[in-house]
């Protein structure tokens, strides 16, 4: 089959099953976005352009050998750290200072850290003997914790959590000992009250609302209730594309960004939701498979942790839309409207493709 394709696409560096499923997700996402935006072609085109840019980045990164990527990693990480710090000082955004305006493009530097942190941890662990010892463990924790703390201060709890988790996944996949993992988990649970103390008031409100949305159905509970109504009223087969009343009559908040899954659930029903989950599951599984056949430690850890992080996106976003997790600003990967997130995600898949291209052919 390869001979029917252009040379670069046929190159062994691109994993066609993964790329195909990603394209299916993105195209489906654009269709949902068209409905969620109230049939606004402009929005869809803008998003398509961003996805196109993301795909270019993907292809570009897939051509880079893993060792080159590994050598860049400290620079990317440092740059990201500086930008996150700069955002803290200069940024602008809706209530939270997440955005950095570079005149040409406005973007969220914290998104870079979603890639840079697992890469940095992996790059650090790459020459080390695994599973990591106490010293390596502490250095890794520092690598992931410093940017996470910066991002928490922005404040953007959701992104900070994802950044931290992606680093943790790297450690987990590197073979961190179970007793350490269990110990950390216990410490995390114990630290929850402390987390409550550092939270901003609006974040606490979100948690309160999450615990009891009906207490304020027209205020903070509105998002959760309307989202659940949209999902529930979708039923098994959904109301049909462009026919979701909750979405078209603007009852669903943030319907083309964080709550786009509610639109999909309403219009395509449980069938649509299960199909989407299946596609994501395939992506995650395929990513882990790519990681397991990667030639070097760096590629293996980065590809593995990015795959697992993708799942966390879906879980947190899907849980929020279904009213089982609090409202945190986590987009639905490749479907939610937004440039930085899409490009970052596709860049991550580019790194996976690079690992695939340099995989071991022989066990």
């Amino acid at each position: 089959m390869r001979r029917w394709l252009p040379g670069w696409l046929g190159a062994p560096r691109l994993d066609l099953p993964l790329l195909g499923v990603l394209l299916v997700i993105m195209l489906g996402g654009l269709a949902v976005l068209y409905s969620a935006s109230g049939e606004d072609g402009g929005t869809v085109v803008r998003q398509a352009v961003r996805l196109g840019i993301g795909l270019c980045v993907l292809v570009g990164l897939s051509q880079a050998p893993p060792h080159i990527l590994r050598l860049w990693t400290p620079w990317v990480y440092s740059l990201g750290l500086v930008l996150v710090a700069a955002t803290w000082v200069l940024g602008e955004g809706q209530g939270a200072d997440r955005w950095l305006d570079l005149r040409v493009v406005r973007f969220q530097p914290s998104e870079i850290m979603k890639l840079a942190v697992p890469m940095m941890v992996a790059a650090y662990l790459h020459p080390r003997v695994l599973p990591p010892g106490p010293r390596d463990f502490l250095v890794s924790v520092a690598i992931l914790a410093v940017p996470a703390l910066f991002i928490v201060r922005q404040p953007d709890l959701g992104t900070a959590l994802l950044v931290g988790i992606s680093g943790c996944f790297t450690l987990f996949l590197a073979g961190l000992r179970w007793r350490v993992i269990v110990g950390l988990a216990a410490a995390g649970v114990a630290a929850l009250p402390a987390l409550w103390l550092v939270m901003k008031e609006y974040q606490r409100d979100r948690v309160r609302t999450f615990l009891n949305p009906e207490s304020d159905p027209l205020g903070d509970g509105w998002n959760i209730i309307q989202s659940k109504i949209a999902v529930g009223s979708g039923g098994f087969t959904g109301k049909g594309w462009l026919n979701g009343t909750q979405s078209r009559l603007e009852f669903i908040p943030e319907r083309h960004t964080d709550f786009i899954l509610a639109v999909l659930s309403e219009e395509f029903g449980l069938l649509g939701v299960l199909a989407l989950f299946a596609l994501y599951l395939f992506v995650v599984g395929r990513g882990l498979y790519i990681a397991s056949v990667a030639r070097d430690t760096f590629s293996r850890l980065v590809a593995g942790s990015l795959s697992m992080t993708l799942f966390v996106y879906v879980l947190v976003n899907g849980g929020m839309v279904a009213g089982v997790l609090p409202v945190v600003g986590v987009p639905l990967p490749l479907i939610s409207y937004g440039g930085t997130s899409a490009v970052t995600l596709l860049a991550g898949f580019g790194i996976m493709m690079s690992a695939w291209g340099n995989r071991k052919f022989v066990r």
Binding site: L130, L218, R300, V314, G319
Partner: protein, 624 residues
């Protein structure tokens, strides 16, 4: 042990890969499990709770809105508009969407006039509804206010200018006491109507025909099922059940006659009621002074209302229905008829008037109005000259209870049953009444003065006009009717209201009735008649009776010159009249507050009213 304690361990690529695969499998298993849980959650919402959420989604989507019917309009007998609907604009606020309400109101106050009453009423209305309900703040905005708001609209989320139909009364105060007015619907009104039907209604009839015929005028409210977005803006109408507009009413009032009577009253306070004796329809019903009903439609400022309340001549009182007057000599035709019909006096029997009348064993004189008396008079002359002594004697011979029972047949002492709210019943005294009211026995002297319409007697102008109508139609009693016809919105053919007949007056001998009516003809037409001035240059024959109502009880032994009295102590002037004598087509009662003598003040007003009606009839091609 995988690494030796001595040597620095070496990286083992294969072993690492195995370890990784082990962890990846664990991770993927957990991920599949969590995906499963999430899928179960979606299935729970979308399958098990589907019906519940579908209902909630539908109630989100569809709002049921009541649609107010258009209020029926009111015409006079000749089709002139008395109460209509004028396009106007009002300001409405949805409190939930307007943000800080106090601040919004303050800013609105810079653009439109908002009185304290507006704010107070808004506050009251607001509490009746949920926060997403649109609540009216100011009615009847003027053009300047509408355009100023249009320019500033973007500054006011949740505030809107809404077109509506505002009631207006082109004739103003001329017809206030008949047509009445509508005012803003309040909680008290809502208790008396079907709330569902008034959900979209802002005004309700408060007085007069507007109140009496509220049910017909209002109509039935409709319902609209509207698809509405999250901000409450309607997207499209899904289903509509049209309201049934209120019925139009045609009143029997003739504006020309009403105006003539109004003008004839001049600066006097008083009342004129004119009834067509042939069908009981009310032709004119004037109460003066009155007030402009238009001021009440959109809420009258407290200060203006206070000013109306404090006017000494009390414009809020409808004198035609609620003015309680002593009938005075206007009661004499009825007392005389009672004497003849009940056989206490014979048609040609004469009674001698010396100027003073004494009861047996009493030395208190009861006087005639002419010193020295009128000589011997029978019934016709007694009416013509209004001879008190004749009626003193008849009343005394009848006794108070027989007189009461007979006069009650003419509707005295009870509401006439006119189709207007709040009518007074007046007072027709009897032994039982006095015992019940004062726990006192009846004195013979009280019977005597009751015979000339004094003492306890109280009548309303409407009662007088209606009793006279019964007199001239030989005992046929009708409930007076203001509404002549009802025109349903679908039924173009007007359905005519006929005045129901009530048990009439039993006729013993029609000749007795002829005698009394002849006496009334002489009042106006005979040389000694008390109202000769009325018939001047009339091309039809008028009959009537003058009357004077005492404002304060005079000592019968002393003469007062009415002109010398302070106006507020002067007698009320009364006159009842009908015409043409041969085939009466109008029965008029005139009362002029503190007018003095009935003949000089009240009679010309009656004449003007008769002229207006009979002249109209000629214009309209009625037979002469």
């Amino acid at each position: 042990m995988r690494r030796s304690p001595v040597n620095k361990p070496l990286k083992d690529s294969l072993q690492e890969q195995d370890g990784f695969r082990h962890r990846a499998v664990i991770g993927f298993t957990v991920i599949v499990a969590l995906f499963g849980l999430l899928a179960v959650r979606y299935a729970w919402l979308q399958l098990w709770q589907h019906e519940d959420f579908t209902t909630r989604s539908e109630s989100n989507r569809v709002q049921v809105r009541p649609v107010p019917p258009n209020r029926g309009v009111i015409y006079d007998r000749r089709g002139r508009l008395l109460a209509g609907n004028r396009p106007a604009f009002r300001l409405e606020i949805i409190p939930e969407k307007s943000g800080d309400l106090d601040e919004t109101l303050a800013r609105l106050g810079e653009i439109v006039t908002l009185t304290d009453e507006d704010l107070e009423r808004f506050e009251k209305t607001r509490r009746r509804y949920r926060d997403f309900h649109s609540v009216p703040l100011r009615l009847d905005l003027d053009e300047g206010e509408v355009s100023r708001f249009a320019v500033n609209r973007h500054r006011f989320e949740g505030v809107a200018v809404v077109p509506y139909l505002s009631r207006h009364y082109p004739y103003g105060e001329l017809l206030t006491h008949v047509v009445g007015y509508v005012g803003r619907l309040d909680e008290r009104d809502l208790r008396q109507v079907d709330r569902d039907n008034y959900r979209a209604t802002t005004h309700i009839g408060k007085l007069g025909v507007e109140r009496q015929y509220e049910r017909l005028l209002h109509g039935d409210s409709g319902v609209e099922r509207v698809e509405t977005n999250a901000r409450g803006r309607s997207q499209r109408v899904l289903q509509r059940e049209d309201p049934v507009d209120g019925a139009d009413l045609v009143l029997s009032i003739d504006v020309d006659v009403q105006q003539a009577a109004w003008d004839a009253l001049g600066d006097h306070a008083g009342s004129v009621v004119a009834i067509d004796p042939r069908d009981g329809s009310v032709i004119a019903m004037v109460s003066k002074p009155a007030f402009d009903p238009n001021a009440f439609v959109n809420g009258i400022p407290q200060a203006d209302y206070q000013a109306i309340l404090e006017q000494p001549r009390r414009p809020l009182i409808n004198r035609s229905l609620n003015g309680g007057y002593e009938p005075g000599s206007t009661l004499k035709p009825f007392v005389g008829l009672a004497g003849l019909e009940l056989d206490v006096v014979q048609p040609e029997q004469k009674i001698f008037s010396s100027g003073r009348y004494f009861l047996p064993n009493y030395d208190r004189p009861y006087r005639d109005w002419r010193k020295g008396g009128h000589g011997s008079v029978e019934i016709r002359r007694a009416l013509e000259e209004s001879v008190n002594t004749y009626f003193y004697q008849v009343a005394y011979d009848l006794g108070i209870d027989r007189m009461h029972d007979y006069l009650a047949q003419f509707g005295f002492g009870a509401p006439t049953g006119v189709d207007l709210p709040g009518e007074s019943s007046g007072l027709l005294p009897s032994r039982d009444w006095k015992r019940g009211r004062f726990n006192e026995p009846w004195y013979p002297g009280e019977t005597v003065i009751a015979g000339i319409g004094q003492g306890f007697n109280v009548v309303t102008p409407l009662q007088l006009a209606n009793a006279q109508a019964a007199l001239i139609s030989r005992g046929v009693m009708r409930k007076p009717r203001v509404v002549f016809a009802v025109k349903g919105p679908l039924d173009e053919s007007a359905h005519r209201e006929t005045a129901p007949e009530t048990p009439g007056v039993r006729v013993v001998n029609p000749e007795h009735w002829d005698l009394v009516l002849e006496g009334m003809r002489r009042v106006v037409n005979a040389p000694r008649g008390t109202a000769r001035n009325v018939s001047l240059e009339a091309d039809y024959v008028i009959a009537g009776k003058t009357g004077t109502a005492q404002v304060f009880t005079q000592d019968q032994s002393v003469d007062y010159e009415q002109d010398e009295l302070d106006e507020s102590l002067r007698n009320h002037a009364l006159f009842i009249a009908f015409a043409p004598f041969e085939a009466p087509r109008i029965s008029v009662a005139v009362v002029v507050d503190h007018g003095g003598a009935g003949s000089t003040v009240a009679a010309p007003i009656a004449r003007a009213t008769l002229d207006a009606w009979l002249g109209q009839e000629r214009l309209m091609g009625y037979r002469p």
